[in-house]
């Protein structure tokens, strides 16, 4: 069977299926029951209330613990089993070490800062990467919609990423932001550090104006760094949800679910292969750029 024949058959099944579904089921009108927000709802599994703060264990906390355990476990396991002649897994980890140490950390920070902050930057990279990746693995965590298997109520499978909630990227960003501000003040002193925000060579009249803009820009970094990671993962999950049948369910047209399904596959592959790794890389690179910028000896 030539490639052209296979393509034509595939295309025919695609169009034929859509027409068949449209003819058989047509449109059932808009569906009010399915709410996309419900997919991101966090039901508390173990209620813990300390001093009025809701610290209960829920789905996102479970994913956080899982990401921590995986990150630490995988790295420690590989470190314990290092050999002189590396096998494939060790080579992969060595490549990642080279990426985080040379490209990300040493490319943007001075030698002294690199030695101090490399473990932090590398941990950020691996933690965010693994946290993004396990968000695309279906795990039985949906306690809202249970499934009846042989009389036992089991939570149904769902994909959910810990980083799809604003809290986790926000906490990571706040840690990074406060760290690099403190490092900058420690390296230069408070007033020279704030003065280093203004590019050297600006005329004296423009300086206060530029200082205000730079203060705003430094503060907005908190929002931009966290929302970048959060929105990328959230938008990916929403796209997969809507293309993978959500649109068909909401509008009540079965054929629409069939038609948008290949798009869902494309987005899923795109997200897993590209966006998960890229966003972790971006977060780690920007962290080291901010550190390097804060502690660099010369001006802007």
């Amino acid at each position: 069977m030539s490639v052209k024949r296979l393509l034509l058959i595939g295309f025919g099944i695609y169009i034929g299926g859509a027409v068949l579904l449209l003819a058989l089921f047509g449109s059932e009108g808009e569906n009010e029951e399915f709410q996309p927000q419900e997919e991101f709802r966090l039901e508390p599994w173990i209620e813990i209330n300390i001093g009025g703060l809701d610290l209960s264990i829920n789905r996102a906390v479970f994913y956080l613990f899982l990401a921590c355990a995986l990150t630490c476990g995988v790295m420690v396991y590989i470190a314990r089993r290092m050999q002189q002649k590396p096998n494939k897994v060790q080579t992969a980890v060595e490549t990642l070490y080279n990426l985080t140490y040379n490209t990300i950390t040493r490319g943007n920070m001075s030698e002294q800062m690199s030695k101090k902050w490399f473990p932090f930057v590398a941990t950020l990279f691996f933690f965010i990467w693994i946290s993004n990746l396990i968000g695309y693995l279906p795990l039985p965590t949906n306690t809202h919609e249970k499934v009846n298997v042989f009389g036992v109520e089991l939570p149904s499978f769902a994909i959910y990423a810990a980083t799809a909630n604003l809290s986790i990227p926000l906490v990571l960003t706040l840690v990074v932001w406060f760290s690099y501000q403190v490092e900058g003040v420690r390296a230069k002193g408070f007033v020279p550090y704030v003065k280093s925000w203004i590019p050297s060579g600006t005329p004296k009249a423009m300086r206060p104006f530029l200082l205000i803009i730079e203060i705003i820009s430094q503060t907005v970094r908190i929002i931009s760094l966290s929302v970048r990671l959060f929105a990328n993962i959230l938008a990916g999950h929403l796209l997969i949800l809507f293309m993978g049948g959500g649109l068909g369910v909401i509008l009540g047209v079965a054929a629409l679910g069939w038609i948008t399904f290949p798009l869902a596959l494309v987005f899923f592959i795109f997200e897993v292969v590209l966006v998960a790794t890229l966003q972790a890389f971006i977060f780690a690179t920007l962290t080291s750029i901010y550190f390097g910028e804060a502690t660099s000896a010369e001006g802007h």
């Binding site: 929302v227 970048r228 890229l278 971006i282």
Partner: protein, 89 residues
């Protein structure tokens, strides 16, 4: 021409809250893609041109290229988030 829109809106049930929210989300998510489209086009155009001029710099430029791609893509997501905020809050 604008006074033609009023009877149409009236006939359809008036300008509702839901309709305005839908417009907000659509404009937020839709217009943001213009910036990302232009930016990504410019980025990859310059990558292609510089790799053509100096093929030996390919790897260095590739790592900067991925950094630029993610930062530009993020701007489109900012407007999407603003649209979501307008829709839900």
């Amino acid at each position: 021409m604008l006074d033609l829109l009023a009877p149409i809106a009236q006939a359809g049930g008036g300008v509702t809250d839901d309709g305005l929210k839908a417009i907000a989300l659509g404009i937020g998510a839709g217009l943001g893609s213009i910036g990302a489209g232009v930016g990504l086009g410019l980025l990859f155009a310059s990558v292609i041109e510089s790799v053509t001029r100096q093929p030996e710099m390919r790897e260095e430029i590739t790592s900067i290229q991925w950094l630029g791609f993610a930062l530009i893509e993020a701007v489109a997501f900012y407007t999407f988030i603003f649209g979501l905020i307008a829709f839900f809050l």
